[in-house]
């Protein structure tokens, strides 16, 4: 029965990903994933495309392998083995969730200079907009700098040169700051396709929810194993089913990884 549930779940995910694909094909421009996902915890503003997501992918693959080993230990009726490998699987699942939480937090709160209505604003990636449009260049950029508010100018200056404290910046006038910024090499983008944020948070969120429920199921299985429920029953079939669900979560991530991060 687990297989038929997983099949229906595959259709749900398939429908989400295909609607994402359909919307993406209907746009002239779509953000380059290497530009969006280039941060790594503790690495500051270093440009490290794909690094963090590859860590997440390996975490999930490894936790899938430990699940296989747990199921195998279950076949042999090896209670200790089941407990050991289930615990590692749970650790893997929690690590993945932690990574995802960090990634979301970074995307939502990490503000980037974006051209909106002719002036520069600092925005993060949300459902309502994202800073992943095309790069703005030439006269358009100059005009945008001239329209930008005092606060945003200060933020941009601070971004350019971290040694400029609030006091030093307060002493500078707007035209002064505009002069400095025009000479600097700014990476200002337009507002990206609105659908990008919604699809990203919707689909990775739905997958993250599956990981979360998988972790809960695994914890319950671990407790049941510890209480000898399966040993008394004479078989570890439930572990097998929880394993199927866990592998499915890994399988879906393979496709989410492909659609959002690789192509």
């Amino acid at each position: 029965m687990m297989w038929y549930f997983l099949m229906s779940d595959a259709f749900t995910f398939g429908a989400f990903l295909i609607s994402y694909g359909s919307i993406r094909f209907s746009q002239n421009f779509w953000p380059d994933p290497n530009v969006v996902f280039n941060a790594f915890p503790g690495a500051g503003h270093a440009n490290l495309p794909l690094a963090f997501v590859s860590v997440m992918t390996f975490v999930l693959i490894i936790s899938s392998v430990t699940m296989v080993l747990a199921v195998h230990a279950g076949h042999k009726g090896d209670k200790k083995g089941v407990i050991k490998w289930m615990a590692w699987t749970i650790v893997g699942g929690l690590a993945f969730l932690g990574c995802q939480a960090w990634e979301w937090h970074h995307l939502i709160t990490g503000e980037h200079a974006t051209l909106i209505d002719g002036k520069i604003e600092m925005i993060g990636q949300t459902m309502g907009g994202n800073p992943w449009g095309e790069l703005v260049q030439g006269p358009e950029l100059t005009a945008a700098i001239n329209n930008t508010s005092h606060e945003t100018l200060m933020e941009l200056m601070h971004h350019q040169d971290a040694s400029l404290t609030h006091e030093k910046l307060a002493a500078m006038s707007d035209p002064q700051m505009r002069g400095v910024l025009s000479a600097a090499e700014l990476h200002i983008r337009e507002n990206g396709p609105v659908a990008f944020g919604g699809y990203f948070y919707g689909i990775t969120g739905f997958h993250g929810f599956h990981v979360f429920s998988g972790v809960i199921i695994n914890i319950i299985m671990l407790i049941m194993t510890q209480k000898n429920v399966f040993q008394n029953k004479g078989h570890y079939l439930m572990i097998e089913k929880a394993g199927l669900y866990w592998h499915f979560v890994d399988l879906v991530w393979v496709f989410v990884f492909l659609c959002f991060y690789l192509i």
Partner: protein, 155 residues
């Protein structure tokens, strides 16, 4: 269903491999999955560097993305057949799972085609849309992302 297990009617396959063989198989699959993932990441970074160069290489990028899709399907195959041991189930069981998933072939083609045709129609009749969203060909920076192949959910 012809099953020999006395444990549960839901077990439809036999465990015929020994401990050693099983360990070897899992190890092999793990290495295979890791290698494919590393190749995919390398390809992802190649696409990134191709985007940065001036030359218009849309077709090349499209081909590379096709390769990534094929690699992903290979990965999915190994996860399903070895980790989820669908490959060891009896044939009828495999068929009841795989045949309905064939729908995805139509599903993907139809909806990607739909999206693409919507874009073409809008570019033709809605000039405002075209002017505001069509990427300018300004070389050095982001070349726009043209029609990536999109595959999903197909196991």
């Amino acid at each position: 269903m012809e099953h020999t297990s006395t444990v549960s009617p839901e077990v439809t396959f036999e465990h015929h491999h020994s401990d050693e063989e099983f360990k070897r198989r899992v190890k092999k699959t793990t290495i295979l999955l890791s290698v494919i993932t590393i190749i995919e990441l390398a390809i992802g970074l190649t696409i990134y560097s191709l985007h940065k160069s001036d030359v218009n290489r849309d077709f090349l990028i499209l081909c590379i993305k096709g390769v990534v899709c094929i690699l992903t399907i290979a990965k999915a195959y190994y996860i399903v057949s070895v980790f989820m041991h669908l490959g060891d189930e009896i044939r009828n069981m495999i068929m009841t799972i795989v045949v309905p998933l064939m729908l995805f072939i139509w599903f993907i083609i139809a909806f990607i085609y739909e999206g693409n045709s919507y874009k073409n129609l809008r570019n033709k009749y809605d000039l405002h849309f075209k002017e505001t969203t069509m990427p300018q060909k300004h070389g050095a920076a982001e070349k726009h992302e043209e029609k990536p192949t999109e595959k999903s959910g197909k196991e």
